[in-house]
Amino acid sequence: MSFPLLTATALAPAIGAVATAAVPAARRTVAKWLALGFSLVTLGFALAVLLRFDTGAGADRFQLTESHWWIRDFGMRYELGVDGVGVALIALTAVLIPFLIGAGWNDADPVEGEAPANRRWRPTQGFFALILLVEAMVIMSFAATDVFLFYVFFEAMLIPMYFLIGGFGDRAGSGDEEGQARQRTYAAVKFLLYNLVGGLVMLAAVIGLFVATADQLPEGTFSLRAILEARASGDLEFAQSTERWLFLGFFLAFAIKAPLWPLHTWLPNAMGESTAPVAVLITAVVDKVGTFAMLRFCLGLFPEASHWATPVVLTLALVSIVYGALLAIGQRDMKRLIAYASISHFGFIVLGIFAMTSQGQGGATLYMINHGIATAALMLVAGFLISRRGSRIIADYGGVQKTAPVLAGTFLIGGLATLSLPGTGPFVSEFLVLVGTFSRYQVAGIVASSGIVLAALYVLILYQRTMTGPVKAGLEKLPDLRVRELAVVAPLIALVVFLGVYPRPLTDIVNPAVEHTLSDVDRQDPAPQVPAEADSGHEAGAEHE
């Protein structure tokens, strides 16, 4: 038996969480370094996954598989395995977490002068332990190929997230301390309720899936691979109405997590009230489980229902794109602005997934990665800025570029990546999503293109109001980025540019997975009107020059 690499990748941060939580109250710094160390070990494992993953032609769809019985009587298996999409998202998670830990280095320190309630009070340890715990659960969600196993981690990650949102604010909200605590609690509760409702509906659907498979197969199963095989061989065929109900049950949970209009309203609260690293954790990592699961479970398990639901899903995605962007333009709080921008971007991701073309789904997967990195860069710099002034309100800033040019410069690059400037990763993914959508649904592609203009508006308005103009009173001595902060942001920026110039490493991994998914749903890319028969050799020929 080979080394269980995926288990190790998920286990490393889990052990790290326990170890970090166990550090004594007075040794905060030890806890921080311990957490960073474990996140780096996780990154090491994730890179090993990346390297071990075979992208060659004829390679297995799911690789690095592990399979054991978990609860034999209920058909639940401990089954892991990754396709290209899973690999890319595990890598994204493992890359981002060390930066989030670095960015939140001092975010959970006890406020000075505030006497701890008792000597065992360890907020710093708790903060980093919870982040690592979320990382472990997210990685398990990306790696699980047993639907029930996936469900367990999909739901369980709500608990640490709830405490991260409710327990650690950015101390920059409006109102007094008590009011802030109330807003935070509200945000955390709202997050929990929305996701819990989705989760419970999904649980019913998960059980329904088992029942439906038990009907036709010798034994009921939760195994994605087993179900895919059974479908391919014709042993398993859901009744139309069953499939559609099951699809809806799954989709609702994922559409809340991703989140899609009109189920999005928990996100601005959650991202606004939590600290910047937690906000990034929500939008860049945790929410990606939702879009990932749409691609893997909704399309993979319920292809017919996916076709059936496509018009509605595309409409919701388009509304999200435009609505999120317009709301972002209207925001006065910069973290909420970024949250609404994310809603717009999730619209693009869902659009790409349900366009059911190679470019759409490949672009959507790249979008998940690029959005994660770009939003992390923008949000973390915003967090650094907010921590300096103690306010999230855009109008409290102005002229920052004069006093803190490096901060302003990195903020601008993060913003430009968010508006999908060519040369940055998000451009590649957004263009692929749009072209992939357009090739099947022209009108949807054109409507979504309006996002190109709207994104420029919300990003540049934000930059103009905070960074340009005369220096706002109280900001004259604003310090520029510190070494730790620059060390967090600079690599993210380098990565976002690299993926814009040379996305090949990603596309090579993702393309085969997308082909499999498209064959699951039995769709082919639309052929061009004018088949370029004379030039068919062109692209291939160019390769050899």
Binding site: D73, F74, G75, E155, L158, I159, Y162, T185, L192, L193, V197, L200, L203, A204, I207, F210, G220, P262, L327, I329, G330, Q331, S358, G362, Q401, L421, P422, G423, V428, F431, V435, F438, S439, I446, S449, S450, I452, A456, L460, Q464, T468, G469, V471, Y502, P503, R504, T507, N511, V514, A527, P528, Q529, V530, A532, D535, H538, E539, A542, E543, E545
Partner: protein
Amino acid sequence: MESLIALLIAAPLLGAALLLVGGRRLDRVGHWLGTLLAAVSFVLAVVLFFDLLGREAEDRTLSQHLFSWVPVADFQADVAFQLDQLSMTFVLLITGVGTLIHLYSVGYMEHDERRRRFFGYLNLFLAAMLLLVLADNYLLLYVGWEGVGLASYLLIGFWQHKPSAATAAKKAFVVNRVGDVGLSIAIFLMFTTFGSFAFDTVLPNATGTSEATLTGIGLMLLLAACGKSAQVPLQSWLGDAMEGPTSVSALIHAATMVTAGVYLVTRSADVFNAAPNAQTVVITVGAVTLLFGAIVGCAKDDIKKALAGSTMSQIGYMMLAAGLGPLGYAFAIMHLVTHGFFKAGLFLGAGSVMHGMNDEVDMRRYGGLRKHMPITFATFGLAYLAIIGFPYLSGFFSKDEIIYAGFSKGGGQGWLLGGVMLLGAALTAYYMTRIMLLTFFGEKRWQPDANGHEPHPHESPLSMTVPMMVLAVGSVAAGFLFNLGSSFEHWLEPVTGIAHGDSPVSHGMVSIAATGVMVIGVAGAWFQYGRRPVPVVAPTGNLLTRAARRDLLQDDFNHAVLVQPGNYLTRGLVYVDHKGVDGVVNGTAAAFGGLSGRLRRVQNGFARSYAVSMFGGVVLLVAATLLMRAV
């Protein structure tokens, strides 16, 4: 030779990276480093040019494939370059004028503490612009297209502490993005039609494709061109872009970037040739813009904004010519090059005047400057003669050719186009003479500024005047050289094709008419501004004058039709999102069994509630499974 193409782009890109990331260590040498790398690029361009000249006309295309950029199934985007006669012309213009303007900026930006960053942005612009004209496919072109937009944004807003500059920069970027949507959709259409967006697939296959599709592609490309080239209806950003340093206005907003739209149309010649309806729209846009810009140029007292109006108008000529198809492509590009010389020269001259006048831009506060700035006067004067089409200077050749091509369109259309362009020529002579007279002739009208400093007009340093002199020589000679044996036409012919229509009027007649209207325009301006003293405060003027001063109400229109409703919409949606969507979803959730409501009430017991629901879920699961087994 091919491998030099990438170096052409790499040199300024390296400069941008070094200057922007290098930090203060490079403050002392940054400007020279930037200028040097621009010059390196120019030298490479010259080498490549002579290489092309040494080949047969049909053989003058070099291509270089660097790497496969975005391969996703049939979507194959490469980073690959193509250098042909059209690209080569642009490359020489961009690197040549670009290097001169780098040199000029050394002096012009001398007192700016952020000069290193300025040169970083200029280098970034050069790299992006070269990428734009050298790309061998539309997606890579798009990268350069938005890259120059970024450089333009950064440079318009270079003095970010001024709110007006920051606003102008944002406006330029956003308006351009509207155009970029057009380019995006054009590429989508190409991909769905041809399965590719590489020039060598799309263009040869254009003929024989459905005309409706080609019209769609053409109109979307035109939308992009309108954004970048400040053509009606996306013209409103260019005047405000004058907030940037003047050398930026010269390079980006006169000589090179704003002409990218003309490049795009000319590059896509095969698409437009097969889509006559799209061509008609191109012609209309060009004709409207050439009058629009000229009228605005007549009314502005700000020297840079007057020149900006002129730029719009001249690009209108180019766009119109490009809309004429093979009749006009070569002359559109020829005018683009000569315009690059004289308009860059005019802007640099304006910058030199401002440099000596404490950055005053109001021409009504100039007057009689020819005695104080003889070199600026002479170089500006030569560029002036070139733009108004003074016989045998460069503008005379290129503009007359376009007017002649307009007549050659034939029929009523030909007369209409010819007439509009002659009217535009008269207006050109009028507004340029007005600028000339207000600035260099008459009595001095400058006064001490608010701090009591009276300007002491003086000639600019050599680093500034030498580029002006070189451009002046170009303004004078370029047209004549290009026309030696129709050399320029023949140079471009393999790319753009050439056609001759039946003009109802002869070449000579057009020249005579154009010279005639020029004299009328000059005389009109002289009667108004040369014969009698100029009031320092502008008279109220008639309705048209007042509208023209407000850019023919373009901003009022956009504000009323787009900005204001947009503001209401976003504000309304913010309210609805907060009250409505949130409320409805919460309410629906509450209605379903009151789960959320009950949970909300027990605010402190969440972990417990959660545990209960998880437990409930598991019980449900177990029960269901057992039940199923029992059945």
